[in-house]
């Protein structure tokens, strides 16, 4: 098995004349927590859509979880997990129904779904809300559940698109505990966030500006290189 979960070379996506993603090259190692930062409109969402097999690149090449992002997009989707702030779980299904639904989509056997549901309910202490509609569960809980559902099929990598926006400061940190646990179990984490303290929790951080990756490295490397005291300052210096 390759030690790289993402390998991308000269990846570009154009919409007419506009290059939303402009020739980016990078890789992400297995088990890494990789922070994917950038201003609104910098091209993060477009890049993520290509990495998750939803959008075809205009040019360039890449592999995610060992599959080609141009030619093996369907196979690739079984090996990844995805959650976002905007959409994660079906509001009008109960917690258990959501798990069964996602488990089914990812091709888990009934027995596996039952086993993993039990484990998850135990780990998150959800025993009393198993049969509650997702709509009635507070946002902070919902996001923790969504993360666990997105990793139910034990993907090689999970993509998190602003998973903690609007979540209270304590729940935000509990969410990051789950991220660390997943990373220790070998699941690679690819995460976008507008909270700069969260960027500092990542093993490596990349920063997109106008379609290009302008900086990439560990927190210490970025702080030294840009002579900054924290990630907030690095972000302001690069994105302005």
């Amino acid at each position: 098995m390759s030690n790289k979960v993402i390998e991308v070379e000269n990846l570009t996506r154009a919409f007419g004349q506009f290059k939303a993603v402009d020739n980016i090259t990078f890789d992400v190692k297995r088990g890494e927590i990789f922070g994917f930062l950038g201003a609104n409109g910098a091209g993060k969402t477009t890049a993520m859509k290509m990495l998750t097999g939803i959008l075809e690149p205009t040019s360039g090449s890449g592999k995610v979880a060992g599959f080609d992002i141009k030619t093996q997009r369907n196979k690739l989707k079984y090996k990844i997990g995805y959650m976002s702030q905007k959409f994660s779980l079906y509001e009008d299904l109960t917690l258990k129904e959501n798990i069964r639904f996602y488990g089914g989509i990812y091709g888990l056997r009934r027995k596996e779904i039952v086993e993993r549901t039990e484990k998850m309910v135990e780990r998150l202490g959800l025993g009393n809300i198993e049969n509650t509609l997702i709509a009635e569960i507070p946002l902070g809980w919902k996001q923790k559940i969504a993360f666990s559902v997105a990793t139910l099929h034990k993907p090689d990598i999970v993509f998190l698109d602003e998973p903690t926006s609007g979540v209270d400061p304590i729940t935000r940190r509990q969410f990051w505990d789950l991220i660390y646990q997943a990373a220790e179990e070998g699941i690679t984490v690819f995460v976008t966030t507008h909270y700069m303290d969260e960027a500092e929790y990542c093993d490596r951080i990349s920063m997109m500006v106008r379609g290009k990756i302008e900086a990439m490295g560990t927190l210490d490397e970025l702080l030294t290189k840009h002579d900054a005291k924290d990630m907030d300052e690095v972000f302001l210096k690069l994105a302005r």
């Binding site: 609104n40 409109g41 926006s165 979540v167 209270d168 400061p169 304590i170 303290d197 927190l219 302001l236």
Partner: protein, 300 residues
């Protein structure tokens, strides 16, 4: 300027607001700080006369939100949490539409929006749907200001917005306060933005946990706070949480914020970390708003 007295509001079984009272003086920039579901939007909807409270009263400029709603609507600018401009109208058309609704023109109030509008001008013929998040938010602010309101009510204007656009937005709010003397209530889930307000209310589960200046809220922190940095913060954090001496331990960016049951025990903590060969540095630090917010949350 804004007076809220004993307001409660429930939706079926959920108590969105639980007996809230607040005062905002003329010309102040007031922050409502709290996570999603805290009740911030419900409070905005009551203040903008779109929702009637179950109990209590609210007045803006001396006008009651229930009986004087027509007069209030003429004098407030409201930016809802959800983007509510016309997506299929251009920047310019949206502005003109809102000016007309308030029986005024873009030209007659242009001074107030000039600083924000210059950033939008290159895109004035673009449809609102095709604007980036930061641009949408600037357009929404312009539209909320077009009729020169005395009070500005902004519901999470910087939600999901990147740090650069957030900073520009707050610079604009500060300018409006200084140049036009406008009174503003702004809500945000970002704790760092709290420090930019004159006064803030920390809100959680429909209740106000504290109201004060950001400086006093930080000072109100009850423990001695330590900042700890190590080679592997996550491992260190797990180890600290097992210690009897530790009251709370949370990650804050690249350091751990730590409080102890008795602050003199920091010597024991250092000793235990050294015994386990943790490579670390630890010092006393000043708490910030987020520290205070988390302490108040845990107390609730």
């Amino acid at each position: 300027m804004i007076k809220i007295e004993n307001i409660s509001k429930s939706y079926e079984v959920v108590k969105a607001l639980d007996n809230i009272s607040l005062n905002v003086e003329r010309g102040k920039l007031f922050g409502l700080i709290g996570p999603d579901g805290a009740g911030k939007t419900t409070l905005f909807r009551i203040l903008t006369t779109l929702l009637v409270p179950d109990n209590g009263t609210a007045t803006l400029m001396g006008l009651d939100t229930v009986t004087d709603y027509k007069e209030i609507r003429k004098n407030i600018g409201y930016m809802p949490g959800k983007f509510s401009l016309y997506l299929d109208l251009s920047v310019q058309e949206n502005l003109e539409f809102f000016a007309k609704v308030f029986k005024t023109s873009v030209e007659s109030n242009f001074e107030m929006i000039r600083d924000i509008y210059v950033l939008l001008e290159p895109f004035k013929n673009r449809r609102a749907r095709d604007l980036s998040g930061g641009m949408k938010q600037k357009l929404a602010l312009c539209c909320a200001l077009i009729h020169k309101p005395e009070i500005l009510l902004l519901d999470e204007p910087t939600f999901g917005v990147d740090p650069v656009s957030r900073k520009e937005f707050w610079d604009n709010l500060k300018k409006l306060q200084k140049n036009d003397g406008i009174t503003t209530i702004v809500s945000t889930p970002y704790m760092d933005e709290a420090s930019l307000c004159d006064e803030v209310a920390l809100i959680q589960n429909g209740k106000i946990m504290a109201v004060d200046t950001p400086q006093n809220i930080s000072k109100g922190f009850h423990h001695t706070l330590f900042g700890l940095k190590s080679e592997n913060n996550y491992k260190t954090l797990m180890f600290l949480r097992e210690m009897d001496e530790v009251n709370s331990a949370f990650m804050f960016g690249n350091s751990i914020h730590l409080t102890l049951h008795n602050h003199k025990q920091f010597i024991n903590v250092e000793q235990k970390l050294r015994e386990k060969n943790f490579n670390f540095s630890m010092e006393r630090i000043e708490p910030n708003i987020e520290d205070s917010f988390m302490e108040l949350m845990e107390k609730e």
